[in-house]
């Protein structure tokens, strides 16, 4: 076989891609050649290993299957029920003393301030302790079992603490039959997910358990479930990205559920309190969105040989990812600090490192990956609408596919980038971008700002190595 020569420049313009020194590109341009220069930077991890994995067609096929399942998932919000009926751990743990938390596994000793505060709050809420000292003692004597929400197909924003009595949203994937869960959003200010445990926090949690949860359950059953994929698709066209901006999704949620809430309500005063609570919280729909995103990524999990990321989650100390072809194994690195804007009176010195399961939205192609649809919130990162487009555009380089159901008008209705491939993350040395809120590092103060953050590259480098090892073994 003999090489074919590049075509005559007179017939088709001689056309070159330049990777490296710009000197060569300039010399070609001065000869009238079309040159695209790559903004190259050294890859992360072992380049020989990367070359092998990138050339592996088995991985490509596995990834097609994984993202195919993610896109096929049909997350429907069907009900709200107490966590103890949904999470097996709460039945298995001795005395029922168990709590779920955000991110990869972590011990009490290593937990950050907001997570510790939320755990104390949960002990008070469950009546396991009468005050902070008793709660701390209970935890320190090892009486409480901790596990990541993700181990039970649940996701929780910020500290992500789920206790047995809390009502959980139930999302059903109508195609694959999976069920995923998320707690109800408490609003801003002094809330448990930011580590607050003052009496009004506990009181609100009780109201959510006794009034809000049952009301939502009745209404959802009444309408036969809410199609979250369709709701999110509409919200993206209304300026949400599904992580840091949930105004449109919350409004759509309320619009679809309000009649049923009224029809199934026990009293007009109670129904009004439910409607008022949802209407006053712009982030109410973050949690249903997270459960929907979890249902999508769960569908794409456990595809042998796939290099697609199916979990990104943080516990405020570690950032962890899980990869479809690598099962339940976590690959962790240090949680990073967030670049962003702070509310008046706060600054970077107040910030806790990255925390929460909400990065599941980016994992499913929402959040910062859909930033092109949410120009209104780029000011959080001091950016312009052009930056919003840039974030989304960059992520296409990392992902296996686009999701035609989540289309972006500003990018000519292109789907959001979906299915992060750890090979591309390492090859481009470009960690995924995540939109997120900033928690105060001390328990109970709450959100102090918002911005963007990246996972540490170490997660992806060690996952890549594990994938290479598993490919070697087959």
């Amino acid at each position: 076989m003999s090489p074919s020569t590049p075509e005559q420049p007179s017939l088709s313009p001689f056309s070159v891609i330049n990777v490296g020194a710009e000197l060569f590109a300039e010399a070609l341009r001065s000869q009238g050649v079309t040159v695209t220069s790559v903004a190259w930077r050294p890859p992360a991890g072992d380049p020989a290993l990367l070359a092998r994995l990138l050339a592996d067609p088995v991985i490509d096929r596995a990834n097609e299957i994984a993202v195919g399942r993610m896109l096929a998932a049909e997350p429907v919000l069907v009900d709200v029920q107490p966590a103890r009926t949904l999470i097996p751990l709460f039945r298995e743990a001795e005395g029922g003393y168990a709590l779920l938390h955000a991110g990869p596994p972590i011990s009490w000793e290593r937990m950050c301030g907001p997570m510790r505060g939320a755990i104390i709050g949960a002990c008070l809420y469950e009546g396991w302790a009468g005050n902070e000292e008793e709660a701390t003692q209970l935890v320190e004597t090892g009486s409480i079992t901790f596990a990541p929400c993700h181990h039970y197909n649940a996701v929780g924003p910020m500290a992500g603490i789920v206790s047995p009595s809390m009502p959980l949203l139930i999302v059903e994937d109508r195609v694959h039959g999976n069920r995923t869960f998320a707690p109800l959003n408490e609003g801003l200010g002094k809330v448990l997910r930011y580590g607050a445990y003052a009496p009004e926090v506990i009181e609100r949690l009780r109201w959510m358990q006794e009034v809000l949860g049952p009301a939502l359950s009745r209404a959802l059953r009444h309408i036969g479930g809410l199609d979250l994929r369709s709701l999110l698709a509409q919200a993206l066209h209304m300026g949400d990205e599904g992580h840091n901006r949930n105004k449109a999704a919350t409004s759509l949620f309320l619009r679809q559920l309000a009649p049923a809430l009224v029809e199934t309500g026990t009293s007009s005063a109670e129904t009004a309190s439910v409607l008022r609570f949802i209407a006053s919280n712009d982030h109410f729909h973050l949690n249903p969105s997270m459960a929907a995103a979890k249902a999508m990524t769960l569908a794409g999990s456990n595809v042998p040989n796939s290099s697609v990321v199916v979990t990104m989650a943080r516990n405020g100390v570690d950032f962890g990812i899980r990869v479809s072809g690598l099962g339940e194994r976590w690959f962790v690195g240090p949680a990073q600090s967030i670049q962003g804007l702070y509310f008046a009176g706060f600054g970077p010195e107040d910030a806790n490192p990255d925390i929460g399961d909400s990065a599941i939205t980016e994992t499913a192609g929402l959040g910062a990956f859909a930033m092109a649809g949410a120009p209104a919130i780029v000011q959080f990162i001091g950016g312009t609408p052009a930056d919003a487009l840039r974030y989304t555009r960059e992520m296409y380089a990392l992902t296996v596919t686009t999701n035609p159901q989540f289309s972006l008008p500003s990018l000519n209705f292109q789907g959001t980038p979906t299915g992060i491939d750890i090979r591309q993350v390492c090859r481009l040395n470009l960690p995924p971008v995540i939109n997120t809120g900033i928690a105060h590092r001390l328990p109970g103060i709450g959100q102090v700002g918002a911005g963007i953050v990246h996972p540490p590259m170490a997660c992806f480098i060690s996952a890549l190595q594990a994938l290479a090892d598993s490919r070697q073994a087959t």
Binding site: M1, S2, P3, S4, T5, P6, E7, Q8, P9, S12, F14, S15, V16, I17, N18, V19, G20, A21, E22, L23, F24, A25, A27, L28, S30, Q31, V33, T34, V35, T36, S37, V38, A39, W40, R41, P42, P43, P47, A48, L50, A51, L54, A55, P375, T384, P385, A386, A388, L389, R390, R393, E394, Y396, A397, S410, Q424, R427, L428, N429, L430
Partner: protein, 535 residues
Amino acid sequence: MVIQAQVRRRTYVDSITLMQIATALKGLPGVENAAAVMATEANLQLLAETGLHPGGVTAGAEDLLLVVKATMPEAAEQALQAAEELLTARQPKKTLLHDGEFALAASPQPPHSLEEAVRRQPEARLAMISVPGPYAALEAELALRAGLHVFLFSDNVPLQEEIALKQLAQQRGLLLMGPDCGTALLHGVGLGFVNVVPRGPIGIVGASGTGIQQVMSLIAQQGSGVSQVIGSGGRDLSREVGALTTLAGIRLLLEDEDTRVIVLVSKPPAPEVAARVIEEAASGSKAVVTCFLGADHEALEQRYGSRVVVARTLTDAATLAVQLAATPASYHAATTPAGAIAARLERLRQTCAVSSASGHLVGLFAGGTLCDEAMQLWSALLGPIYSNIPLEPAWRLHESSLTALPGHCAIDFGADEYTRGRPHPMIDPSQRLQALETVADQPRVAVVLLDLVLGYCAHPDPAAIYAPVIAELRRRGPRPAIVVSLCGTEGDPQRLSVQAARLQEAGATVLMSNAEAALHCVQLLYEQEESGSVA
């Protein structure tokens, strides 16, 4: 003296640009030394060795590190500020948006990957790759898999990776030029360090960049032209690689309608590789000229002389190729007259008796192959030629010996020990200029030979740098004589005639043939001895 450093996190800039920035900083007032490097362990080590390591700074391989050593803190700060401006000047300009204007029109960012670039420019046919060696194979493989021919300038690619890449290219019917490929020309488009030549009947396949540039320049100067030039990389003709690219290049030239003569340029190939390469080249109806510098030419002639023309120098290869291209297709190789350089060397060998007392020849080269060619000619007449790339192991010259030369010397400033952390002398002449001043001061040095290579990617105006230094040397006295081997063409951005005139005006003898320049140096030495001007 103060050392100040600045770290730019997660910023990658290519080494050529960084070295240009460092060179610019060194020229600022009060700046003793400066470095701009990616903070890899190797580079940090290098900084420590040169006394530029900034203590207490933490930076990793992904971070850009700027270091300035200056007489005063203010000077260091100004230099770091200047570096900032130089780096910013590289960035694409941000599109300014009016208030309220939606940003859809904002210019897209450059692609982050080769695949992304291919998506944006699907008509691309070739990838030009010059990333650091450890990463080069990955990029080259992805380019081949994307269906692109590859010009791989990067060096330090492991041998096994080179072989695997060349096999992949072969399977895909693509051309992989390199690694360590400096020069190519396809359908009139020059790639890398290359001269501007007319289209014509001569195709070149070569393992050496400056060797190819010499041949193509001389072909153009003799009024002929070049069809295609395929660079193969320095190791292609080794036993291990087995000339995979050279053979692909030869086949391409055999099929190329514009090509009537094929020239092969390289160091001596492994014997069994030479046989395969020559068999392949001679298998078609096209005339073939081989130029294997340093090979046993008589043995080659004996074995292959009936099928190919064996040239002993780059100049002869060019001349013979031009003659062959002009003769009718019925031409038979054996009738070609011996090359002019070979003949002149023979005459000099018989007539020149140069004694050891007659002073030294010193060659200061940017082109490794040009250095090699000059050493072959000189050693045939003068015996040992000391060098950092010696013909014989016993003739090795160390960097420190520049101030006390042991005899006739030729130094390749493009070799690894001179280019680690610095631009190639074809881009940045400062190091070789310094060496010129050092050797010219030595009374035993009779003649200095410099090569200047023009063309794309080379220094935009080397005469502007060298002519003043040469003129100054001439003001000081007649010795040493300065001979310039000027490799280039009238079409080059620097213009051959303009460069030659300025160098001559400064007092240099300028020759366009490296071999002639080398022989001219011996002639000068001989004449100086005859006239008794020995120091």
